[in-house]
Amino acid sequence: MHEIRWHGRGGQGAVTSAKLLADAAFRSGFEGVTSQPSFGAERRGAPITASSRLAHEPIRVLSQVTAPDIVVVLDDSLLGVAKATAGMRPGGTIIVNTTKSVAELGLGGDIRVVTSDVTGAAQAVDLIVGGQPMVSTAILGAFAAATGLITMAGVEAAIGKAFKGTAASKNIEAAKIAYECTRA
């Protein structure tokens, strides 16, 4: 079973990402998928987390993920405040939305660090709402590239179900760009 923890900021769409991941994983052949948000005081900008689990058998554990093998960080400014690597399993993967390089991030420990300029991907297709680049869909491209657990076809289908028309095509395009710019 793969256990994933999401770190984002209120309004950034980590909960949407977690739900889309579940749908994309289901479409990529996982029989067991769950994604659960961790709701709190829903302030814009406040650090939030969400949990996802993927497996090839039904999953019945619904507690928050505390020992993730994959961590996704939607905003690199969270690395300083949210203890994103806390509890990570040895050899686990952390995927960070950043313009910095792996070396510049300087994350220590027995973990694999993967970067992707997801914000840049959203900006490239003008995926901006209320002045904010929307990273919640494009991050799935980085997730697919970094882990290989979900396919881009699954990502496109999940986004296509959640959004309609131009919104769907822009979000899919951003996910493809994020996929291409993912670096380990």
Binding site: D23, S35, Q36, P37, F39, V61
Partner: protein
């Protein structure tokens, strides 16, 4: 031919789909916090013409249940959903719905009650209303919440029952988590629930009746209450038979209780709702190490399946009952009181501990459940006792 589609979906969406398929005539709802997206999703179905329900938006949860009571007495099939403080505000009307024998079906997203303010999962809301006369079903998963909603219509409207049914699912856990689940085709559900033919509809002007009359001063109030008691006792057989019938169509098992490893378990956890899944996960680990552990999940809380529970637990050495709500000043939480009572007439009874856990969404981590089994093992060996009532994982 029944056909099912598999989806990755939240519990709320799946319950709304079930309600759409059951096609109520009226839904009275207060669509603001504390509500669920069940009524939001359902409002979309109405707006998009996918279901022809009279959707009545009201000014409070108290009015929501009042509207449901009125519509149901008029002869309509009525459904709604609520949560937390909303259910608390409905309290007065809950008793009226049951006393007037109205087959209303309501989903409740189990969430904590203030104070302090909290929006997360526990069972305080429904346990406060457990004596209102409603049939109460619990779901562990989105799938069970879906199945319970469909079965609830048949149970509520059954002539031997005629009582409201509440279908509970864990707030923010089962309601908001995406999970894999199957949805039945519309025609099969429509055929299963059938049309509602009310027996004493207020709007049947050829056969005028009145509902909810004054029955004091030597009137039949007392006998009405006995009739309610008889009806909810009778409902057990109806729940079993409707469950068996739906189970055959959807090919998923249904029972008032669901045991895992209970055939030869020495140490058992009794739980309601999503926690049962976490407990089974830990029980599997321990079974792999050769420890004889089991999990007993209670799917129906009212009527309470005393005989099934006594039968399942009588052979155990030690039992932990997990309560996600308090009954302050009582011997233990509501589930503990019932389970303990169920075993009173047995010659052999297991040692029992009550764990209060997960209040206000306090996370039910697997290590907490490992601790429960470890406590039970010590209790069974006579090594030590954790005490009668334990606040599991409290700092």
């Amino acid at each position: 031919m029944a056909t099912q589609k598999t989806l990755a979906v939240t519990g709320n969406v799946l319950v709304a789909e079930a309600m759409r398929q059951c096609a109520p005539d009226v839904m009275g709802a207060y669509p603001i916090t504390p509500q669920t997206t069940i009524v939001e999703e359902f409002a979309k179905f109405v707006a998009n013409g996918r279901v022809h329900t009279e959707y009545v938006t009201v000014e409070s949860e108290h009015s929501a249940m009042s509207a449901c009571v009125g519509a149901s007495a008029a002869g309509a099939r009525v459904m709604t959903a609520t949560s937390s403080q909303g259910l608390a505000l409905m309290w007065e009307e809950l008793y009226i719905a049951a006393g007037m024998r109205l087959p209303i079906v309501m989903a409740n997203a189990n969430r904590a009650l203030s104070a302090p303010i909290n929006i997360h999962c526990d069972h305080s809301d429904i346990m406060g209303a457990r004596d209102a006369g409603w049939i109460v079903l619990f779901a562990e998963t989105a799938q069970e919440a879906y199945d319970n909603t469909i079965m609830a219509v048949r149970i509520a409207e059954h002539p031997d029952v005629m009582l409201p049914v509440m279908t509970c699912l864990d707030g923010f856990i089962t309601t908001h988590s995406i999970d894999r689940a199957q949805i039945m085709d519309d025609e099969t559900v429509k055929a299963f629930v059938g049309d509602y033919k009310p027996e004493n509809a207020l709007l049947d002007t050829d056969n005028p009746v009145s509902h909810g009359n004054f029955a004091g001063l030597g009137g039949p109030y007392f006998e009405f209450k006995r009739a309610q008691r008889n009806a909810i006792d009778r409902s057990a057989a109806v729940i079993e038979s409707v469950g068996a019938e739906w189970s055959k169509i959807c090919e998923r098992p249904f029972g008032m209780v669901e045991g895992w490893g209970m055939e030869d378990a020495e140490l058992a956890i009794v739980a309601i709702g999503s926690t049962a899944g976490n407990a089974r996960h830990v029980a599997r680990e321990l079974r792999a190490q050769g420890v004889r552990v089991g999990v007993l999940k209670v799917r129906c809380f009212r009527p309470f399946p005393f005989a099934d529970i006594a039968e399942a637990l009588a052979g155990c050495k030690a039992v932990a009952v997990l309560d996600r709500s308090e009954s302050f000043g009582a011997e233990g939480g509501p589930l503990f009181l019932e389970v303990r009572s169920a075993l009173y007439d047995r010659a052999e009874r297991p040692a029992m501990v009550n764990y209060i856990y997960g209040l206000g969404g306090s996370d039910v981590k697997l290590e907490l459940l490992r601790q429960v089994y470890s406590d039970l093992s010590d209790l069974a060996d006579g090594a030590s006792t954790p005490g009668r009532l334990v606040y599991l994982g409290a700092r």
